[in-house]
């Protein structure tokens, strides 16, 4: 980046050797040079410092070495610094020849002139409060620098290019042709158009896309198995915040510490999920302590990149090499986040839980949920109100039950029949065999070399057993392959210790060899080759106590066995299901005097659950419960930031997580930065950090943000590296302008839309982006902004643009992430668990790419090809590469082929004449009319393709069938296919994916 300062020098007329009397700037020229060539050994890092010499601080630079001044103002020959860089002895000369650094003659000369001019010292531009007051005239700043460099700025661009530029920059979408016409006819003023764009919900989508890169938002956890998690409500919060123009200071505080605000709203708690967007691991065998430190470091890197524009992450293992961040600063920053409830290693990747999680219910949803909860309580009351009729019916019900229990017939009640049917979870292999039936009922076949079983657990329809009941299960043993042992197991109150066995003992469950409820031998194996009913007395298995039975297992050792219906034979079938505890059932049958009050209430509940007198109320209750549960289930559960007692934070020497020898540190902001009203009397919190971040004390947050917005609108920041405002990041080309804008931004209430509006309404923004030979030669990096920038669109907008110009784009805002087309098998490298990308049906295929499911280890390949980041780390400035993969995506990705076909349909349906079709095609995609030679070229392609598709109508139909959206009926397939190729052509041009 030192090239930059040199380049600016070179722009001064009469470049080459700078004139003797040109004033040297310490901050702009000298410090960057010292930082780049000297600080590695003579900078902030105490452990790497050589000869005790420190050049990054004023004291060191103007101190002495062996009694000689390091820098003697006015006297280079008496300055150690100058002596050493000019020493004739190569062994003495700095930088050492063994290092990779050296100084050019011009650089040595620069240092000499600086010392001769009195060695004026300035602080680093970014570490004191930005200066400026009043309204900022952006154009005046830019024009002054251009004039000084004698560069002629470009003329204003044409209206169509400007409209296209504004649409891309502010909404990430191509220009709306209707708006363009109104602008051209003078019915809409440019200011009005800008306001309209800023008011569009697509503005929020565009800004959110940028913000998500910074906070490294993704739908998966990142490490190893890269499991899915739910954080999209955070993305929607960002979207809403930008669209509602939430002031950036509030936007900051709510993300860093929304959960700590008094009476935090749901939105603030959702915002605070920012703190948990770092990558986490589920990998078994990982060390929780190590990963907690990885997460802590990740947060420091991310926070400092976004809000300090600084590379504090470098100070994890050693003091920063170039900027005054110490290792202590690094760990003190990480201590702010030590209150976040989390674990180092998450378990159970199947459950995909990254606790703590929270249910997201915004006030409107919460109000609906509360209303439904109240309705549910009311319905419950209605269903349980007693009156005389009901009491009479209750007495009759009991008498009838008692009569049957004493004298009635025993009947078989099925628990498992032609299906499991009890609502429990199936486990093991339930292999239904339709070819082998007992009577009409199909059966399950089970076979194995050793112990094999199938079972279910957690039944809703539980089994209440009592005295005199008989459990049964039908089996038929294959005579060719008999088992050595059969076992029935029953589950209640969380245990399977209720077993009956025939034959054996071979199955290694329960107390083998004993005769106890946990393993009750029932004698020999039953005869083979016929249906046999295995029977067990539930009392002998201890099933008449506790809760009803909620699971049953069918186990065998070896052999091949068909298992048929299972259940209970009882005199009181009415009492078997419905959840009555066995003791209450016994009490009921024992008569009124034998019940305690709890049992009496259980019996009343049992009666109310089945009496026809309350059928209507019960139905209403069911509906109320279903409504409540459905809404509740529809509300997302997302990863949440929950504050707990903070973990102890230590400095980790050399970043080694196993080294506990470093001092314990308390939360603190970097020591060399102004501390402002930072609390000292108590432990500081994330909320204190958040408030300091957007306070006047912090010189960096507003500069970093304004610089990023500038980059979005002009292609490059005023400070070239938006993620590094430190000594190595390059001084801004227009530091006063950046400062003035930052001051104005803060004074105006951190108003993001106002900032963007005032920037796009400048002459500088509205200039032509065409490169002239003079500009290419004099300012190839466009640092002085004599022209606007041209750059390739971001990945998302490349696809969104194709969808929008074809008319395919779905307008829905927010919601769970979606899955558009992705090549088959792209996720094959994932495991724990194995996953497959299933493309959505319907509108999920055509949503804005902002909503595409973001998998960190396998980011959507079409987005990745256009430099979308994996969102593992903060990215302020994406690469803008130019690769063959991009060509392959635009040519062959079904998203683009489908968009081309739909675009062709629209064009063909609207215009009959070929020339007008071409014109419409260009207008939709490029916001301009085609030139004559372009019309000719497109028509030539159409003619060739049409001829070819007439000869091969199957190929035409195949091309038109790409994509899920409906192909238009009617027009000649060859014609539509040819125009689809024309649409592909226009979508493939550089111009289509370039903002200019």
């Amino acid at each position: 980046m030192t090239g930059l300062s040199l380049l600016l020098l070179a722009l001064v007329p009469g470049d080459g050797a700078a004139s003797e009397d040109a004033v040297v700037s310490f901050d702009r020229e000298v410090r960057p040079l010292l930082s780049d060539r000297c600080f590695e050994c003579h900078g902030p890092d105490a452990n790497a410092r050589e000869a005790g010499l420190r050049l990054d601080e004023r004291e060191g630079l103007f101190g002495t070495a062996h009694g000689v001044p390091v820098v003697a103002p006015g006297r280079p020959e008496d300055s150690v610094l100058f002596q050493r860089i000019t020493d004739e002895d190569p062994l003495q000369r700095m930088p050492p020849s063994t290092s990779r650094h050296s100084l050019l003659a011009g650089e040595v000369d620069l240092l000499r002139r600086w010392i001769e001019q009195g060695a004026p010292w300035e602080g680093h531009w970014a570490w004191s409060a930005p200066q400026g007051s009043g309204a900022v005239d952006v154009d005046a700043h830019i024009d002054a620098a251009l004039e000084a460099a004698q560069l002629e700025p470009r003329t204003p661009t044409d209206l169509r290019t400007l409209v296209r530029r504004l649409s891309w920059d502010l909404t990430g979408l191509p220009a709306d042709l209707e708006d363009l016409r109104r602008l051209e006819r003078g019915e809409l003023a440019l200011e009005g158009f800008v306001d309209q764009l800023l008011a569009s919900p697509h503005y929020g989508e565009r800004m959110t896309q940028h913000w998500l890169d910074l906070v490294r938002y993704a739908d998966t956890v990142g490490y190893h198995g890269d499991q899915e998690w739910t954080v999209w409500p955070y993305r929607d919060w960002v979207l809403r915040a930008f669209n509602e123009n939430m002031p950036f200071d509030r936007f900051t505080v709510e993300q860093l510490a929304g959960d700590l605000l008094p009476d935090a709203t749901m939105g603030q708690r959702v915002a605070a999920t920012y703190n948990r967007l770092n990558m986490v691991t589920f990998e078994g065998g990982s060390q929780p302590k190590e990963f907690l430190l990885k997460y802590a470091a990740d947060r420091v890197r991310n926070y400092s990149s976004i809000w300090l524009g600084s590379t504090v992450g470098c100070a994890e293992c050693h003091d920063h090499k170039f900027d005054p961040y110490t290792t202590r600063d690094f760990y003190a920053l990480s201590a702010f986040f030590a209150d976040i409830d989390e674990v180092g290693v998450y378990g159970n990747f199947q459950g995909r839980k990254v606790p703590p999680e929270m249910r997201v219910a915004y006030p409107a949803d919460q109000a609906r949920l509360d209303a439904l909860a109240r309705a549910l309580v009311g319905a419950e009351r209605e269903a349980t109100v007693w009156d005389d009729d009901l009491r009479e019916a209750r007495a009759l019900w009991e008498r009838d039950l008692l009569d049957r229990a004493r004298s009635g017939e025993r009947r078989e009640v099925e628990w498992v029949g032609a299906s499991q049917g009890n609502g429990g979870r199936d486990q093991g292999d339930w292999r239904w065999d339709d070819s082998v039936r007992r009577g009409e009922v199909r059966t399950r076949v089970q076979q194995g070399a050793e112990t094999v079983q199938h079972f279910f657990l957690g039944a809703d329809r539980t089994l209440t057993l009592g005295e005199g009941d008989l459990l049964f299960a039908w089996v038929r043993i294959d005579p060719e392959d008999p088992p050595q042992e059969l076992m029935l197991q029953f589950h209640r109150d969380g245990t399977w210790e209720h077993r009956a066995v025939w034959g054996g003992p071979r199955i290694p469950f329960g107390p083998v060899g004993q005769d106890a409820p946990a393993r009750r031998p029932q004698g020999a194996l039953p005869p083979v080759g016929e249906w046999v009913r295995l029977e067990v007395d539930p009392a002998s298995l201890g099933l008449l106590e506790g809760s009803p039975v909620d699971g049953m297992a069918f186990t065998q050792f070896g052999g091949r066995v068909h298992w048929a219906e299972a259940g209970v034979e009882t005199r009181v079938p009415d009492l078997v299901f419905g959840g009555l505890p066995p003791a209450a059932r016994a009490a009921l049958l024992a008569g009124e005097g034998e019940r305690d009050s709890a049992q009496a209430a259980q019996l009343d509940a049992r009666f109310l659950a089945e009496t026809p007198l309350r059928a209507e109320q019960r139905e209403a209750l069911e509906r109320a419960r279903a409504d409540h549960d459905a809404l509740d289930a529809s509300l997302p559960r997302m990863v949440a930031t929950v504050s707990v007692a903070p973990r102890e934070v230590r400095v980790r020497p050399r970043g080694n997580w196993m080294d506990d020898s470093g001092p314990v540190v308390q939360p603190a902001v970097p020591a060399f930065l102004p501390q402002g009203a930072f609390p000292t009397e108590r432990r500081a919190t994330r909320l204190d950090l958040a408030r300091w971040t957007v306070s006047d004390a912090n010189p960096l947050a507003a500069r970093a943000f304004v610089n990023r917005i500038w980059r979005l609108l002009f292609g490059a920041g005023l400070a070239a590296d938006p993620q590094d405002l430190g000594t190595q990041g390059g001084r801004p080309t227009h530091p006063e302008l950046l400062d003035a804008l930052a001051v104005e931004f803060v004074a105006g209430g951190w108003d993001v839309k106002a900032l963007i509006r005032r920037l796009v309404l400048t002459r500088t923004y509205q200039r032509s982006s065409r490169l002239t030979p003079e500009l290419a030669e004099r300012d190839p990096y466009n640092r002085l902004l004599a022209r606007q920038a041209r750059f390739r669109l971001d990945a998302e907008f490349v696809r969104d643009g194709a969808l929008a110009s074809s008319g395919l784009l779905a307008a829905t805002l927010g919601g769970p992430s979606v899955k558009p087309y992705q090549p088959e098998g792209y996720w094959a490298q994932l495991n724990f668990p194995l996953r497959r990308w299933r493309a959505d049906a319907g509108e999920g295929l055509h949503r804005r790419s902002l909503y595409t499911f973001w998998c960190r280890t396998f980011t959507h390949p079409a987005l990745l090809a256009f430099d979308a980041p994996s969102r593992e780390e903060c990215v302020s400035a994406r690469n803008r590469a130019n690769t063959p993969q991009q060509a392959l995506v635009l040519l062959n990705d079904p998203s683009f082929v489908e968009a081309a076909r739909v675009l062709a349909q629209a064009v063909v349906a609207r215009e009959a004449r070929p020339q007008e079709r071409v014109a419409h095609l260009f207008e939709r995609v490029l916001t301009r009319a085609p030139r004559a030679e372009e019309v000719a070229l497109v028509l030539e392609l159409v003619a060739a393709e049409q001829q070819r598709y007439v000869a091969d109508p199957d190929a035409a139909r195949a091309l038109l069938a790409v994509g899920e959206s409906a192909a238009l009926d009617g027009p000649d397939p060859a014609e539509l296919a040819a125009w689809t190729q024309a649409a592909r052509l226009v979508l493939n041009t550089g111009e289509a994916v370039t903002r200019s």
Partner: protein, 468 residues
């Protein structure tokens, strides 16, 4: 930034016609930006004369046990079942074995002498053993990361943190490409049946902050080999040709109007993309391979197996691909290592040996570096009847151009726990790899966020004894 610098510079030359200005720019851009032509040019940052032109990295993902592959430990066998002496393990990092009783676990397979050099290698690897006189076996590797994901990241990028460029990207950035038809850095993956399949993140072949064209391209075994390289249904190669030609014509006109140098690059990239639509299917079609060759590798075709991938690796090498990486994902043997090792060795041994044979007989081995190894090793202590992750000592081998074959280097203690004889860190491996390619790891630098980054981070030294 550097990307922009290069392109802008090209545009600049386009206008200024080189000369004075080019000289000025070259000095401005300094050591990071040597002249490079259009997208297809063979840019190069060579520091010294290279010993090899390409690398084939056979990555045994999951972490092969050194104790059942390359590092014979009779003392460990003698102490089978005894407590692991605490002097070895105190204060050391463990993965899944933390907090458990640590017992010695004997090597589960015998070793055997191979070649005139008498190298000792597990008897499970007869085909690799047949090349013993070509191998430099390193028995003193160490790494810093004990979990798969960060350990792979370190093995590929020199750092456990995400976001740095992988060694393949550094290599193509440093040396450019020798092929106009295929990407310079290609990755193939295969699964195994003898262990849990390791997830392999695409970040392992990411270009990080280097220009995107240096990203590794995953050559897939199912679906289309290269993503999006198949023309859509109903659009033939002739249709695609017409489309690419027309796109280039429109882009050229736009370049003239706007002076945007990106468009010239773009036209070249479209040409490359078009060629890939034919070169990739041609690459994947093994129909021109002899029966003998297929049998040598033990494959019938491009079926995604490791064997097929080895054959593809040779075809890629022949076609000028600079960096070829094969992942076999089945080496994470926490349990049942005896049986799993047999299965995995069978999946890997024959084809690996065949690859060396085939490269050698075609004259390719002399300018290819082949590296075989995983992201770490496994504990001498038992984890049930398997072994846990281990970072203090593990093994790998190198073969090919510039490598002193038939030699061993370094060693672990008598129980195979720690590398005690001449330990080698992953950064040293990278330094040596770059050295063989003609690159100085301390001078192959890329400026990002104010810092000069390199593949070897802040460490690394060339291991001279490995070199012939």
């Amino acid at each position: 930034m550097s990307q922009q610098v290069l392109f802008t510079r090209r545009g600049l030359l386009g206008y200024a016609g080189g000369g004075l200005l080019a000289g000025a720019m070259a000095s401005l851009l300094g050591r990071d930006a040597l002249a490079r032509g259009g997208g297809a040019a063979l840019g190069s940052r060579l520091h010294h004369s290279p010993r090899v032109r390409r690398v084939i990295h056979l990555c045994m993902a999951g972490g092969p046990s050194h104790l059942e592959t390359l590092d014979e430990k009779p003392e460990l066998a003698r102490r089978d079942g005894e407590p692991m002496p605490e002097s070895f393990t105190r204060g050391q990092q463990l993965a899944q074995l933390q907090g458990q009783a640590l017992r010695c676990f004997a090597p589960q397979h015998p070793f055997q002498t191979f070649g005139a050099s008498g190298q000792r290698i597990s008897a499970l690897f007869p085909s690799i053993g047949a090349h013993a006189d070509r191998l430099c076996i390193v028995r003193s590797m160490t790494t810093d990361q004990i979990n798969h994901d960060p350990a792979h990241t370190l093995m590929n990028t020199g750092s456990g943190l995400s976001g740095r460029p992988s060694m393949g990207s550094w290599t193509t950035w440093g040396l450019g490409s020798e092929t106009q038809d295929l990407p310079g850095y290609v990755v193939l993956t295969s699964i195994g049946r003898g262990g849990q399949m390791q997830p392999i993140a695409a970040r392992q072949w990411s270009a990080g902050f280097l220009p995107g064209r240096h990203q590794g391209v995953h050559l897939r075994s199912s679906g289309d080999p290269v993503l999006y390289a198949r023309p859509p249904a109903g659009s033939s190669l002739e249709d695609q040709r017409r489309l690419v030609d027309a796109t280039a014509a429109l882009d050229r006109a736009e370049a003239t109007r706007t002076g945007d140098p990106e468009l010239a690059t773009r036209i070249a990239q479209y040409e490359m993309a078009f060629r890939m639509q034919t070169s990739v299917p041609e690459l994947m079609d093994l129909g021109d391979e002899s029966r003998e060759t297929l049998e040598l590798y033990g494959t019938e075709g491009a079926d995604g197996s490791y064997a097929a991938n080895c054959l593809l690796a040779r075809r890629l090498a022949e076609r000028g691909v600079r960096f070829i990486q094969l992942y076999h994902r089945g080496w994470d043997h926490h349990g049942g290592i005896k049986r799993s090792m047999e299965i995995t060795a069978r999946e890997v041994d024959q084809a690996t040996g065949a690859l060396l044979t085939d490269l050698a007989r075609r004259g390719l081995l002399e300018d290819t570096l082949v590296i075989w190894g995983g992201e770490f090793g496994r504990t001498p202590m038992a984890q049930g009847n398997g072994r846990d992750h281990h970072i203090k000592g593990f093994s790998l081998w190198l073969a090919g151009g510039g490598i002193d074959g038939g030699t061993s280097y370094g060693g672990t203690d008598e129980l195979g726990y720690a590398a005690v004889d001449r330990p080698v860190h992953v950064n040293d491996l990278h330094a040596t790899l770059l050295h063989l390619l003609g690159l100085d790891h301390e001078r192959l630098l890329f400026r990002f966020q104010g810092r000069d980054y390199r593949l070897t981070d802040v460490a690394g030294r060339v291991v001279r004894p490995w070199l012939a």
